[in-house]
């Protein structure tokens, strides 16, 4: 028990350190963008947040399939923790994008393809969390949530295409696209550092969340037995 929580603590400090380094790079090292000015620095939060959210939703799918295949509670806790953090980081993505959009595009919100599909993603997983909140018994909750988690994940590519054809305004992704990235090296470095920091933070929070879920379930089952 002790070594595990010690590792977690180290992970937490590492995440904090990485976030500070990332902040330093984003404000001190990366140059001021020539056209957008300082507003562009929001990207150092926006892009790492959305990449972390994607990672989280992949883990929801993995945890959901794992739980249905093995009926081991650990998979369900992974899916549940990842879903909560996915919603959190998607929320950060939308909020930071909105703050950037106001001075740059002149509007807080627009029904562009990517904005819309990110918002839908957010809604799908908020629904997933609401469902979890409505079922007390861990085993049933895990099964139901896993089914919704799988449908939600399989729906992501369908949403992506439908919304893309519906309209497009957002700039195409520069780092995940097929061509070599046109980003200046210092900016790319600051971005990578922040991405790493966000991922560390995510892993730390996920480990903590899973641990809490384990204790909650033990308490629930213990309470049920006492009754």
């Amino acid at each position: 028990m002790m070594p595990r929580s010690a590792t977690t603590r180290v992970l937490g400090w590492l995440a904090l350190l990485a976030l500070l380094v990332g902040l330093g790079l984003a404000f001190g090292y990366a140059p001021r963008e020539s056209i957008q000015g300082n507003v562009q620095r929001i990207m150092y939060v926006h892009v790492p947040a959305v990449l972390t959210a994607y990672l989280a939703f992949v883990l929801v799918l993995v945890g959901s399939i794992g739980y249905l295949a093995s009926a081991r509670a650990g998979w369900d806790r992974l899916a549940a923790g990842a879903a909560e953090l996915g919603v959190l980081f998607t929320g950060i993505t939308i909020a930071s994008g909105s703050i950037w959009g106001k001075p740059t595009w002149g509007t807080w919100w627009t029904w562009d393809a990517r904005l819309t599909s990110t918002a839908i993603l957010f809604l799908v997983y908020v629904g997933y969390l609401l469902l979890r909140a409505m079922v007390d018994e861990p085993e049933r909750r895990g099964r139901f949530a896993a089914v919704v988690g799988i449908v939600g994940a399989a729906n992501i590519p369908i949403v992506h295409f439908s919304v893309k054809w519906w309209r497009a305004l957002h700039q195409p992704s520069t780092i995940l696209g097929p061509e070599p990235s046109p980003i200046a090296a210092p900016i790319a470095a600051a971005l990578a550092a922040n991405w790493a920091a966000f991922t560390l933070l995510f892993v730390y929070l996920l480990v903590r969340r899973i641990e809490i879920a384990r204790l909650e379930e033990a308490a629930f089952l213990g309470g049920a037995r006492a009754r």
Partner: protein
């Protein structure tokens, strides 16, 4: 395989028979469709041009809203009458129950949609005739997409607190692509353009239908047990 098909058929037959005798869903849904028509008319005003341009969206909004009410009840008859166990005792692969329920839902939804469509044509004075061949393709594709996820989620929410609230909250975000595709394709069809103009949308719908059906078939047994 014949045994599987027969089980699907039995669940379908049972649900349709219950529906024919009680008319529980159908009557209320048809009335609900008529009410929606009034609501749309009141909220948009009498301007015909505006109504006509909003028609494809309103039509599918009506189908989705009726679907939320109808599909959400898929598993309540068994629950209210305490015979869920009877359903669970179906031998063999549990996905046969899913397919039977889905087929029954598609039948009921189909009737409701056709009536709503006719009412829209009548009351909004729209010429539906030239759009009918296109709608004959779009309507089934959209209904399968809506009902495939709806039936699966109805089985989940039937066993959960606050199910009336949870069902739409879960289903609506998932149905966004189906709504976008059907509304866009209906727009093309009602404008009298050839259906090929909506080709990508129909392909997307068909693809989505297959994905939803496969997931429903694979995961349904996990929703039922216990």
């Amino acid at each position: 395989m014949p045994a599987y098909a027969r089980r699907v058929g039995i669940v379908l037959w049972k649900d349709l028979l219950v529906e024919r005798r009680s008319k529980e869903s159908l009557n209320a849904l048809l009335f609900f469709g008529l009410l929606l028509l009034f609501l749309f008319q009141f909220s948009l005003g009498p301007d015909r041009a505006r109504l006509e341009s909003a028609l494809p969206g309103l039509l599918w909004l009506g189908f989705v809203l009726a679907g939320l009410l109808g599909l959400g009840r898929s598993f309540l008859a068994e629950r209210e009458n305490d015979c869920s166990e009877g359903l669970l005792l179906t031998p063999g692969d549990k996905s046969a129950i899913y397919l039977g329920k889905l087929a029954a839902n598609i039948c009921v939804m189909g009737v409701v949609e056709i009536v709503i469509l006719a009412l829209f044509g009548l009351f909004f004075d729209v010429d539906l005739a030239r759009g009918l061949p296109g709608l004959a393709v779009i309507l089934p594709l959209g209904t399968v997409g809506l009902a495939a996820v709806g039936t699966l989620f109805a089985a989940v929410t039937a066993q959960v607190r606050a199910r009336e609230l949870l069902f739409p909250v879960l289903l609506l975000p998932i149905q966004v692509p189906v709504l976008l595709a059907t509304v866009s394709a209906t727009q093309v069809a009602l404008a009298g353009q050839p259906l090929a103009d909506a080709g990508p949308w129909l392909q997307l719908l068909a693809g989505a239908d297959i994905v939803y059906l496969v997931i429903g078939l694979l995961t349904f047994e996990f929703v039922l047990e216990g």
